[in-house]
């Protein structure tokens, strides 16, 4: 790993050079909110943003994606035989992604890249993407990354981490992909011998600004069935939930999907779409039975998945990187920090758990 200095006056020129070999994606303000967009020539990422409303997960995992295609023309020799659609995976770079969002791809990868099956669409998109992250110096009040396995200067799953240092960025070049990118951009200024120390100091300051946290140390040790049956938690939390699914759509680590077939003229398409465990149709059997038929079942599924099933299955912490979007966006103030702390401290003997202000 090396640290280089990127003078902000060299930033635009570097981005323009990158356009030759990469599609550029970065945060831009659309009406009121920031969102990640492909940057057309002349458009730059807004590096002064806090975070986007919708996560950049769509770059690797589009909200709707054709996964198979077939001819429905009886005269074709491959009539009704599904094939992969022609799709080019152009090299792209995600600029200015925040550490929580970058780290979310390591979480989601555990679902799509397994010993038994590999999702070719997710993996091809992931492998052709370079992540140039941006460390956070001004976290939101809902950020709790430091206790969710990430942090404002966390460089997990990044190829380059940029640290804003006034008139320049200090850039940690972390991988070969990162090396190729900075060299393609022509960024190579010496950052000075004490660059690593300066980053470390800024990191400590940034971490001290994260004011909220979750307690997770007991989650693995709790009994799965005790937590599942902890009605003191689920009844209270589900009371207000309207199953709108916003939390799942804004979450960088929610990966569930639906598959639907569509016919356009003489072509059949199999399409994968983001889905949500908040919806009754997610689990409804054709014969009418629904194993998660109540909103309590569905709310419980979301939090048990993130904070217990995932924890037990992968032994790599919680399925959450602490971005806080679900807290900011929930219309009824359901707060994953509160639920996590209740699950962490739940005692089935007394049916109590610690309810902390959040």
């Amino acid at each position: 790993m090396k640290v280089i200095k990127i003078d902000k006056k060299d930033w635009t020129a570097g981005l323009e050079k990158l356009r030759g070999s990469y599609a550029l994606i970065g945060p831009v303000k659309e009406k009121f909110y920031h969102t990640f967009k492909t940057l057309e020539p002349g458009r730059e990422p807004d590096m002064a943003y806090a975070n986007s409303r919708i996560t950049p997960k769509y770059v690797i995992y589009p909200q709707s994606e054709v996964i198979l295609k077939c001819s429905l023309d009886e005269n074709d020799s491959d009539y009704k035989i599904f094939k992969e659609p022609d799709k080019e995976y152009q090299s792209k770079v995600v600029l200015g992604i925040r550490p929580c969002d970058a780290d979310s791809f390591s979480v989601v990868r555990r679902n799509f890249d397994t010993e038994d099956y590999k999702d070719p669409y997710w993996l091809r998109a992931y492998e052709t993407t370079t992540f140039v992250g941006l460390a956070c110096d001004s976290p939101c009040p809902t950020c709790f990354c430091t206790s969710a396995g990430s942090g404002p200067y966390n460089d997990a799953n990044m190829d380059v981490l940029l640290v804003d240092n006034g008139d320049h960025y200090l850039a940690k070049v972390l991988t070969e992909k990162g090396e190729s990118l900075v060299s393609a951009a022509g960024w190579n200024d010496n950052a000075g011998d004490d660059a690593a120390d300066r980053i470390e100091k800024k990191k400590t300051e940034a971490e001290s600004r994260i004011q909220s946290r979750v307690n997770t140390e007991n989650l693995a040790g709790q009994s799965l069935l005790d937590l599942y049956e902890a009605d003191t938690i689920w009844e209270k939390e589900a009371f207000a939930c309207i199953n709108c699914g916003t939390c799942t759509y804004v979450c960088p680590t929610c990966w569930c999907f639906d598959v639907q077939d569509e016919v356009h003229g003489k072509e059949g398409y199999r399409i994968r779409n983001w889905d949500s465990c908040m919806y009754p149709l997610f689990t409804l059997h054709a014969a009418g039975h629904n194993p998660r038929g109540t909103k309590l079942d569905r709310l419980r599924q979301r939090f048990m998945h993130k904070l217990k099933y995932y924890v037990d299955k992968y032994e790599s912490g919680i399925q959450c990187t602490g971005c806080g979007r679900c807290i900011r966006m929930c219309p009824v103030n359901i707060d994953i920090r509160r639920i996590c702390n209740m699950m962490n401290s739940y005692d089935p003997e007394s049916c109590t758990c610690e309810v902390t202000a959040s």
Binding site: I67, L68, C70, L72, Y79, K80, I81, F82, K83, E84, N111, F112, T114, D116, Y117, K118, D119, P120, L123, R124, L224, L225, Y228, W255, C256, F257, D258, V259, Q260, D261, E262, V263, G268, R270, D275, C277, F282, T283, L284, H285, A286, A287, H289, P291, R292, D297, Q301, M304, H305, K308, Y309, Y310, D312, K313
Partner: protein, 281 residues
């Protein structure tokens, strides 16, 4: 990278209506590319996604046995969008099969043991696969006593009627066929619900005896206490679950019971395993 979403193309070779109400049909499929049949090597108890372009996919247990070569069979109940369309398809039509998916009945564990198969209604498909597999001349000697208890609402609702009669005539298989009720005074088999017949006919539970139970929830609910009474321990009661599925490979997130996916970690679980998961099935 192998794409796990691409189905093997197949042709419908034969369609047989199984039940008097015509709600169940057995589809015999032949692979368009012979090498795909080898890739589709399966064990009794597994399932596959039947794929109809333009409609979608449905997860269905494999009714043929790995010992039957040259085709695969699935018995499908007409209930939703894809199954209704499938019931209107004709012999010769092209569609797809994706799999085999999921785990299978624990055949290695069952070797050298008594096996009791208890089935009800149309959940008998992977049980047919299992019976054909065990009765194969190369396999029969691997198992001790085999009992099969199978029930349906009426004689006309039983699946695989010819095969049932053939099995009933054999002396290396104890076949107990039952119906809830019938007007036929000549009905040669049992009358009564599956749990009742199980109580009368199933052997007692021993360390060497395993029960495979597949059927509608109400049958399972009342069969379980019978097996308890007969002395079956919860690790010797084997069940196969169904949940709504899409991907079939443990990725789309809907069929889980706790941290297990019915599609990938199941569909076969022991009662002991199920007692440690949320009952979301």
């Amino acid at each position: 990278m192998e794409n796990p979403y691409i189905p093997y193309p197949v042709r419908i070779d034969e369609i047989k209506t199984e039940t008097e109400d015509k709600s169940l049909k057995t589809f015999k499929f032949v692979f368009l590319n012979p090498e795909d049949e080898e890739k589709f090597a399966y064990r009794a108890g597994q399932f596959a996604e039947l794929s109809i372009p333009g409609l979608g996919e449905i997860p269905i247990g494999i009714a043929s046995s790995p010992t039957e070569k040259g085709f695969v069979k699935f018995t499908v109940f007409k209930t939703g969008k894809v199954t209704s369309y499938l019931h209107s398809m004709k012999e010769g039509d092209i569609m797809g099969i994706r799999g085999p998916l999921g785990n299978w009945y624990p055949w290695e564990t069952l070797e050298g043991k008594n096996v009791v198969i208890i089935g009800g209604g149309f959940a008998f498909t992977t049980l047919r696969s299992s019976i054909i597999y065990m009765l194969d001349p190369d396999n029969r000697k691997k198992f001790k006593d085999i009992h099969v208890i199978y029930g349906a609402r009426s004689p006309g609702m039983l699946l695989y009627k010819e095969e049932l009669e053939n099995w009933a005539a054999r002396d290396d298989l104890n076949m107990h066929i039952t119906v809830d009720s019938t007007n036929d005074p000549e009905w040669p088999h049992h009358t009564g619900f599956v749990p009742t017949i199980s109580e009368q006919e199933a052997p007692s539970g021993t360390d060497d005896t395993y029960a495979i139970v597949c059927g509608p929830p109400v049958m399972i609910k009342f069969t379980q206490p019978v097996l308890d009474k007969l002395g079956y321990s919860e690790d010797r009661i084997i069940m196969s679950l169904e949940n709504r599925m899409k991907c079939g490979i443990g990725m789309c997130g809907r069929c889980n019971i706790g941290k297990e996916f019915v599609c990938k970690d199941g569909p076969v679980f022991t009662l002991q395993q199920l007692n440690h998961t949320p009952k979301e099935y």
